[in-house]
Amino acid sequence: MRQAAKDKCISLILLAVAMSAIASLAMIAAFIFREGLPIMMKVGVGKFLLSSDWYPQEGRFGIFPMIVGSLAVTAGAMVIGGTLSLACAILLTQFCPPKVVSILKPCIELLAGIPSVVYGFIGVVILVPAISRYLGGPGLSVLAASVVLGVMILPTVTSISVDALRAVPRSYREGAIALGATEWQTTHRVMLKAARSGIVAAMILGMGRAVGETMAVIMVAGNTLDLPHSILAPVRTLTSNIALEMGYAAGEHRRALFATGVTLFAIIMILNTIALTVSRRRARKAGQS
């Protein structure tokens, strides 16, 4: 009886902790929407999202270049980070002797523990001058941000993809090999297909991280207000716009930054919803088979 009471007490405490997470999410959402929506309405949602004039002192707020910037940088990060991560995951699960895995995997996971400002700093000191020298342009660019973000999302995407590949029943692989498929055919035609939805979910989580990253991007992206015309052009993302100007902004300018936050929030919600749907579908499929 006493044990039951204790259990109940603990479960109540845990429930309270869990609720506080939900409450803080709700509060953050309510707050940024309350601050940001009115100015979006005032400027006009279409104009706010599609105009390229960001002159806060003159009351002109258009974040189109930054939306493009965020999407460009994220797409670049997915091309670089996604490819690398998938390659890592395939190597770790299919081709690597266990001993090497036991060294390689912790190393990749350790990348997740490096603070973003360090990535940014390395980007500024090494990557940016190198891009400027060998490829031209100012160095601070979509490309620099993409490379830095690509490395930053590598650990997350890799470890979730590894889990997805490991979750494929052994019999699939054994069956394919028994039918005479080569290692690569097995990997390519069987394993990747079977783990596809898990890998897609990993990519989308990585994408969410890339969209939201701020510090490293401010340092290497250059933060111009112009639409990027090539991957060597500097660019400003939604997050860096907020972080750059938040400290100073007052009045409408401040609310416009919250509205930038609303836009970001919407983009991230869309990505997360896609991620959830995809992984649910995977769960259902697994249930059927």
């Binding site: 204790k6 007490c9 603990i10 405490i13 390229s52 002159y55 806060p56 002192q57 003159e58 009351g59 002109r60 500024v124 940016v128 001058p129 400027s132 100012p138 160095g139 601070l140 401010i218 340092m219 250059g222 933060n223 111009t224 207000l225 112009d226 500097p234 400003r236 750059l244 100007e245 400290g247 100073y248 902004a249 007052a250 300018h253």
Partner: protein, 294 residues
């Protein structure tokens, strides 16, 4: 299981005690809080350090954030002293008091390998507005110019806007293509020459310096006191910005560093302000490349 509960209780107790402690501490030896311009910040830190040597009982907490953030902090009562690297604008001046602590030149800087050494203010404006986009147009190499500017709200940016971009009224034709919005109705159309959209934005003097140091096509502007000798300082309108040229007001681009306060000042904060204005405090600033006000 028991220890989990115990840990929870301990954590809760700790949180409560810490918050009560902070509340109490707040009323006694409360540190003097200075918030504001990242240009003034390093100098204020030096002054605070010197001052604490003399009066170890008083702690001074210096934070950056930017001039406008400093003014905001003063208005909200978060800070004792706001640090500002531009003149107060009229609505601010109505509510606050700005105490000049030093004069600072605004240095236009380029990479050391850049052959350009002198520009006129009109040329600087043309470069930053994007009208002049290649170094060859102002006597340099045939390369594009990489503009580096500060973020919206920075005191250094605002000083640069006032001293360079808005210094002379541009022909109205240039401004007419960008009609002003409803925010400034009947007033005369502001002949604002904007900083080009292509300009790369950095959020501190340090970041500007770092970029210009590594990019031979770059041009930026920053606090003269913080340049040291890693960058080339451009001679503007024929005057090279030395401390002497700033003091005698020959150098056209200069601005005050202000301590901003509101109403009555706490004695501890007043002591610090007084110290900064003594010959000793001023000497600390002059040693670091600023120009004193006394």
């Amino acid at each position: 299981m028991k220890w989990i509960i115990a840990a929870f209780l301990a954590l809760a107790a700790a949180v409560v005690f810490v918050s009560i402690g902070a509340g109490w501490g707040g009323h006694r030896g409360k540190p003097v809080v200075c918030i504001g311009s990242t240009s003034v910040e390093p100098f204020a830190e030096m002054l605070a350090e010197e001052f604490q040597h003399k009066d170890p009982n008083l702690s001074i907490d210096v934070q950056g954030g930017g001039s406008t953030a400093g003014i905001q902090a003063i208005l909200e009562g978060i800070a004792d002293i706001g640090m500002c690297s531009r003149s107060l604008n009229p609505p601010e001046a109505a509510k606050l008091r700005g105490i000049p602590i030093a004069l600072d030149g605004l240095a236009v800087v380029v990479n050391k390998s850049n052959p350009v050494t002198a520009l006129t203010r009109d040329q600087v404006r043309a470069i930053f507005s994007g009208e002049v986009a290649r170094w060859s147009e102002v006597g340099g190499a045939d390369e594009p110019i990489d503009l580096i500017t500060r973020e919206e709200g920075s005191g250094t940016r605002e000083a640069f806007m006032k001293l360079v971009m808005e210094a002379k009224v541009a022909p109205p034709a240039a401004a007419a293509s960008q009609p002003s919005t409803a925010s400034a109705p009947a007033a005369a159309p502001p002949p604002v020459v904007r900083i080009s959209r292509k300009a790369m934005t950095q959020e501190s003097n340090g970041a500007v310096k770092e970029l210009v140091k590594h990019n031979r096509r770059a041009i930026g502007y920053m606090s003269l006191g913080l340049v040291h000798d890693e960058l080339k300082i451009i001679t503007v309108d024929g005057v090279h910005p030395t401390a002497e040229a700033v003091r005698s007001k020959q150098y056209p681009l200069m601005r005050p560093f202000l301590f901003v306060v509101r109403g009555t000042v706490r004695p501890a904060a007043q002591d610090f302000i007084d110290y900064v204005l003594t010959p000793e405090g001023q000497h600390v600033l002059e040693k670091e490349g600023l120009v004193g006000v006394r």
